[in-house]
Homo-oligomer: 659 residues x 2
Amino acid sequence: MVTINEYTLTLADIGNDALQNIETLFAQANGAIGVRASLPIPEKDSKPGTFLNAFYESHDIVYGENAYGYAKKHQTMVNLFDFKCIQLMIDGDSELTLKKKELSLDMKNGLLNESYLYESQSGKILEYQVESFASHFDRRVYAQRISLKPVNFSGVVKINKEPQAIRSVKDSIFDPRVKDASVQLHQSGNKYTTPNSKRSFYVKFDSIATEQFMNAGEVVMYDQLYQISIENEFYDNTYELLKMKQIEIFEKFWQSSDIVIEGDTILQKGVRFNLYHLFNSAGRDGCSNFSAKGLTGEGYEGHYFWDTEMYLLPFFIYTQPDIAKSLLSYREYTLPNAQARAKELGFKGALFAWRTINGDETSAYYPAGTAQIHINADIAYAFQLFERVTGEEEFIEQNCEIIFETARFWLDYGFYSQRGFEIHEVTGPDEYTALVNNNYYTNKMAQNNLYYAAELARRMEVNKEESEKWQAAGKAMFLGFDSDLQVTPQDDSFLIKEPWDFKNTPKENFPLLLHYHPMKIYKHQVLKQADTILAHMLYSENEEQIGRDFDFYEPLTTHDSSLSKTIYGVVASKIGRHEQAYHFFRESATMDLEDLQGNAAHGIHAANMGGSWLGLIYGFAGLRCEKDKLITSNQLPKEIKSLKFTLTFRGKQQTFKIG
Amino acid sequence: MVTINEYTLTLADIGNDALQNIETLFAQANGAIGVRASLPIPEKDSKPGTFLNAFYESHDIVYGENAYGYAKKHQTMVNLFDFKCIQLMIDGDSELTLKKKELSLDMKNGLLNESYLYESQSGKILEYQVESFASHFDRRVYAQRISLKPVNFSGVVKINKEPQAIRSVKDSIFDPRVKDASVQLHQSGNKYTTPNSKRSFYVKFDSIATEQFMNAGEVVMYDQLYQISIENEFYDNTYELLKMKQIEIFEKFWQSSDIVIEGDTILQKGVRFNLYHLFNSAGRDGCSNFSAKGLTGEGYEGHYFWDTEMYLLPFFIYTQPDIAKSLLSYREYTLPNAQARAKELGFKGALFAWRTINGDETSAYYPAGTAQIHINADIAYAFQLFERVTGEEEFIEQNCEIIFETARFWLDYGFYSQRGFEIHEVTGPDEYTALVNNNYYTNKMAQNNLYYAAELARRMEVNKEESEKWQAAGKAMFLGFDSDLQVTPQDDSFLIKEPWDFKNTPKENFPLLLHYHPMKIYKHQVLKQADTILAHMLYSENEEQIGRDFDFYEPLTTHDSSLSKTIYGVVASKIGRHEQAYHFFRESATMDLEDLQGNAAHGIHAANMGGSWLGLIYGFAGLRCEKDKLITSNQLPKEIKSLKFTLTFRGKQQTFKIG
């Protein structure tokens, strides 16, 4: 049933074959290193890239107007090198023209195959092939096997292959979501250091530099390992060994995580593509996490967001619990930063950074950054889900301070009024509304955080007095409802805002954030992404109410965020709107392949990839985790005949087939 | 009754004699040039300063995170030179110690007298005296008459006196309200140019450089004129002539603007001091305005705010209508910038800059900048007041586009709902609450703007259709009222916020903005300054309601803004709370003399100075402008026996005596 083709991505499979797009989609990564699939000989629009997860340069943030408590330092994941490039010369001629390129991403085995034909000015054609991978066995290694063949000539071929520095390229188009990540590194031996924050890493590689006469049709091959690490410690590995291990590791990965969709080969490939990237970009060491763009591009500066907890961790928790544990451990690792941040802002407990690499807040626009304090509850939610699915109570108890400290924050940030326990001056998931009171999603998630902390405290027999307060605040949580409209208000003021004039908004003015001032956006009923609907996906069983809210919010939603459609899709499934669900799912499954957001060049949309897993498993398969078992239901749209997938529940793999 | 002493300020009159404080308080200005009263030989803490109104350097604003429509350029009034300093040598010794200083500001005549004793290392004492003024006759000129006298020796005295560049001093204490204003100017002949924005001005002066033997007790004198102008055009004037003119001009000024307070010499001096500075720092040329700190310091970068319209213009309109006209003309001069800004933000009409020098928005924090769109209505209000008091309909009709364009903005920015015409996502005068819906002050002022535009259009027989819409929107304006609390809500959400915990806020944590993150401040019931109460000062006649609102808001008000107490004072008078009114007035009358805000070093608090005039005239004298006459009423507190003042109404001076 499954053909090899569905694990293979070629240029024919993608909707936008601009250079930078290809570089992202065919990028390789192993959770520690990421390498963009750039050309061997860069062209004008090339944006090569090599990233080391959690390795960043930092600078003081300059504010037009500063204020107390603003985030102090930028953190920018550094684009370290071009690992792909080669200097080629045919009979002394280095001005070569690219005549043909073929890329084939073998997702089954975690390998990339590239083939290029380069022609000299006098018409001599050289074939340049590379098989490469970011090793999942030794995460320090990016491995390449190069082969050269003169196609129509015999002559002297000269090559030189070693890492090249990244040149700084300023984007001419205004887009605050991306920032130049090139840095002029200081080199001393094999040690490289960022100029400002003096962070270092080490590189080991054997450069290739040869000049030899080759006969037409003759093939020469070179194996080359680029190694890169924070510690100056490297192992001796051969290409062959690492390749064998790579294939083994990917076999296990697909065994535990594959999803087989019968009836739609495009979706099948899209989903595999997404799972492949999810597996590749997740940090494994407890000190790194999953960047919004994975390790495939410079977008969002390599920062970690709530994306990890709400969009990525469900996939990992259900299929790769060890990776899930690493990602959660990262939050434990940054708890001291979160405690310091809460204190700085004048609150008890811990407030996790909205965007960060090292755990410190780096959001330089707090209304759509720090104010998204729901991050606290998102993290608690992910720990709770991990516990429910894996049953690993011990891990949770070891990390209980995260749950307690976030609960302490909520208790202090919120307050009791006549209406209950209210939480003011927050920004919910929807970033087209900011600094509001009682964002429904935030309150609902905070309620869960408070309840979970109280439950954990009872179980562990600690914090007795506090746990009663947490329980009480959770119970008193204000959750609005508009009885006239029969709609769940996104926040206290959303329903009285002026509706956005969609009719007179030209298509090219989306995403709105690039074309309208925040004041204009915020004052209207317009959503960047699912907000109340996300809360309903997680907590509501009232199909009628979900449906009314869906009908109210969806037409107001621009889906300018890539975190949106997937959630609407899951919820559509939940309330039996299978056609809509399919429509949303399709877009999320192929978002980067088709470049539907228009900026895949900046890197994959990781959260959406995790979201497409949610669309299939939470949505079409209706997965629910009840006390001691997993329950599914058939919510398949008519376009999909069946769905087969494997989950790991309480340490055991279970395979499900729907339809 | 009036003694000369009450027009003279000496060091004995001020509460904080730190160098920078003295520099501000004794500063001299003429609306074009301002010169701080720094020492002849600067000391470590000196902050000398010479400013040219509306002359600024500009730089791109760097944002930690940029967004569409943000203000693009900083504008910083440049601190050009030290005009006060002199190089002195006594018998070859230049390490002199300041033994004695006396300053005497002759406000009656607009002259500053300084006297210093400098001692050489061998005990030789030289007396250095300066009489100086910023000429109101020729606004290019800062004039000094210097005299030197060896007190206890005969010997060689060497002097060198010419303008010195300002060295850059970085404040070590975090304070976003002040910014280094020094610039390394490029000099070419007598032309000086800012390095980045290439703005130029010209200087003319005769340097003094002599070395001569002087006998003990012998006096030598030098007159020195420093001239500075955007055009390279200067007049020949003598010190004597300019001094004579200065005295004449100040005589006229006091004739038309003085206020005589019987019963309190401290207040008398405080008020004169305030009026003196108001007269000195107001731009006269229609292309400059009145900086928040006048021309006396670097605070707020020399920017113009709503302070002009709401705090300063009443004084000028009632006493110096020509200056008032210049200040209003400045807004007309920047109308094209305001039109462009509205368009950039996606709205019709004009939106005036919240803070600016050249008319372009320079606020780099829009929630407490651009969002204060009440600036539009404040400007319309001032035009309207000018018309009512001066009767100059023609001037208004010439400038009608300001009134129409601001009305057009309101009609587009607001919208109709079931509750009426609402205005969302604004920040009112109180900057401790931001981005709210239906700020009462804003709505009330916008209503007035719309009505005034409609009235003007009817009168001029233009914009018929539009004027009906303006009238209708004004009439439909949503103005909230909480019938449970019987309080006028500052905005839609203010009354449901958590009250600020004043009890646990240590005194050193004020002003809050320097010690708490905006999120913490905004989510609480806490005011920086009068907001709803300011609307009541202007529009409400319901004493009972004003009283209830006063009692609700005043305890929540930190008065962290210098624009606050004066308004509470006027309103206290209005509702017969004379003791409170006196208390507020006293603080506003002596705010800078006593350094009550703690930052007089950065420059005078101009708005508060205008506010102290309001306290006396609107407050204690209960001034109201009815159709064809001015009406006063006796609201004097018991501490003040009587009040005598002069106003100009419809071209005629009238003198009033209250009590």
